[in-house]
Symmetry: C2
């Protein structure tokens, strides 16, 4: 009976507190997600010590991460990705190589172990699709060319980032780098990715008549949830992160999402579970490790994270003019869940110590905090578009 009490109490406390902090940040015109992470920092084991998330809460948090990426997938049509495919791919590739090189070099110069430097560098790679898309959507700018390139690149970036994580985690296993399994994992990941993008949506299309004959009420939602869980597990089995499987599940159902009314309902599940994910991310942030010395590193890493994405992602689209390049580069700056997960995996494998983990959290928070206002400034001058869209939105509401 007692553990039941504890679990329910944690569920209640974490949900309410994370959402409250999110609301405060929203009112300060800052991303709610940062408020939810800070919620965990503030009352977690390294803050006021009011709550230490139990294993059960961490499991719920994990489902939260799955539904977060499932939601993002549902909003991303494979076709839109493919139409700006090549440009986006170059942006994503340069946006991975430059930050990785910068992060790795800096960490090596600071005399960290190569494995640790690799993990921190890998954590600097992945752009957060959610934060970028949210800012562009709030501005009514999702149709701009720069936005489509950003969205496509952010998606490739997530996928490539997860492949990178697979490689990095493979390198870090005891016994040193065994290249064969890394190669197999990479090939599996690429094959899985290609199948998911090109083939899975067709499978869903073919399933449609069968789905509508099923006796279970809400069969499409049930099947979508089952496939989301199945692909999450399959991704883990292959050696990728569960959330990438969930993202692919979302992609596969994106086309039928409006017809089956999937998005608002999956969003509701996400609304319930995601706060546990962000809270438990924050609750792991050991704030006691930030002395003056570490703070300098954190600021340097954050500036590197910003500049390296801005330059790396801007360069491949410089032919569209410097404004577009700046927009695309800045759009790729915010880091989020994936970087945190990379760092967490490193922490769980005892490859990175708490202080580099804190660097990554700081860097994630800093890029998340700094990018939206700068992005807003860059897009603001396309004022006419924005106003039309704002009117459209108010009419639509």
């Amino acid at each position: 009976m007692h553990s039941t009490n504890d679990f329910l109490f944690q569920l209640f406390l974490i949900f309410v507190w994370a959402k409250f902090c999110g609301e405060v940040f929203e009112r300060l015109r800052m991303p709610a997600v940062l408020g939810e992470i800070l919620a965990g920092v503030l009352i977690g084991p390294f803050g006021a010590q009011l709550v230490a998330p139990s294993d059960a809460i961490n499991d719920v948090a994990q489902i939260g991460a799955i539904f977060l990426l499932f939601t993002v997938g549902l909003e991303t049509h494979p076709k839109d990705l493919l139409s700006v495919g090549r440009t986006s791919l170059y942006v994503a590739l340069a946006g991975i190589i430059v930050p990785f090189a910068c992060g790795f070099t800096y960490m090596m110069l600071r005399e960290h172990a190569a494995a640790e430097a690799t993990f921190v560098a890998a954590a600097m790679v992945a752009t957060s699709v959610g934060i970028t898309a949210r800012v562009l959507s709030d501005m009514g700018m999702l149709q701009a060319r720069a936005s489509r390139i950003i969205l496509g690149a952010a998606v490739f970036d997530d996928i490539l980032g997860m492949i990178l994580l697979g490689v990095v985690a493979g390198l870090a296993t005891p016994g040193g780098a065994r290249w064969a399994p890394v190669l197999v994992t990479s090939l599996e990941a690429v094959a899985f990715t290609l199948i998911m993008i090109f083939y899975a949506p067709r499978v869903v299309r073919r399933m449609e008549p069968g789905l509508e004959r099923m006796s279970t009420p809400d069969a499409p939602l049930v099947i979508a949830l089952a496939i989301c869980l199945g692909l999450s597990y399959a991704a883990v089995k292959i050696g990728m992160a569960a959330i990438i499987g969930a993202f692919f599940a979302g992609l596969a159902f994106a086309e039928y999402s409006p017809r089956w009314n999937l998005r608002p309902r999956v969003l509701a599940i996400n609304e319930f579970l995601a706060p546990f994910f962000f809270f438990s991310m924050g609750a792991r942030l050991n704030t006691t490790v930030f002395d003056g010395h570490l703070l300098v590193s954190a600021v340097v890493i954050s500036i590197l994270a910003l500049l390296s994405k801005l330059l790396g992602c801007g360069l491949p689209v410089l032919r569209f003019g410097w404004r577009t390049a700046a927009k695309v580069g800045m759009g790729m700056v915010p880091r989020g869940e994936v970087g945190l997960i990379v760092a967490l995996v490193g922490l769980q494998l005892n490859i990175i110590s708490p202080s580099p983990y804190a660097l990554v959290i700081f860097m994630t928070g800093a890029t998340t905090l700094v990018a939206p206002p700068l992005l807003k400034m860059l897009f603001r001058d396309d004022g006419a578009n924005r106003r039309v869209t704002a009117e459209e939105r108010s009419v639509a509401m």
Copy 2:
């Protein structure tokens, strides 16, 4: 990483298997919920032993039960409940006295000790409304008068069952019953119930303008979820079942559910989590303890459990006709967690021996398995109603 794998695998396997069994039962025109429970019996620890739900799964199952009753509450207006209030109270009272008397008499006739007879009889008392609620909800029958009487009676039954458990446990402790704590707990439960039914909906009404000013997108859903979790915890703190708190939360938001589009979204969360609840109920059914002798007792106790609720709960509503009486009586038949907890307390206090404990488990399983199809048969003949509701549902989709 391994436990992560296990958790994800269990999530996937249980969800898919439970939903598959539900679909099969749906096609056989039997309640899907029965399929989901049998799914747990079949591959659980006492069946094919393919999966033993981990603690994490059982925690998810618990949230599933909470969202199940939250959904039912959202569809139940407090006024509807009050209109059948007195009837529900009589149904609950008779539904406690008759099964208790039957169980006690039978156990005494079988020459068990009075204390043991008392515990088994007490375990036969508490209705678990989750299963009935699911059947009625799946049939679109939550608005029927019999359904409202059942839901109201379930609330009273929970309060009365809790008082009975307090008294019985008190009687069993050395030094006899301490009446003061039982009285305090009972008063708390009654006060909580009255506040929730009469006052909470008004609080929600007053919150409305504030909610619509909030910056968090989907503020009403977020607040509703927070209050659902809060009231579930409050109910447990008072000594009631968490699901009754969740039901009250649903009641409080029922009026604004259409306006804020709460129901389909909470239903989506429920759709995801409920299968874990029913599966883990089935997985707990220990089928191995029975030899021929014990099996006869178990069957007799189960038949008594069924008939005593059917008659006890049916009699007070016989004036509405025998069909309504049968519906209400059958709706109150399924026993669940509370009965198991009573038996477990008795076992831990060494008041009942393992075989009466097994009887209670068998009885819980039998009433859980038998009631849904009978309930469905009884409600099915309201064919006209049902067809209208089915049409409404398909239009609403």
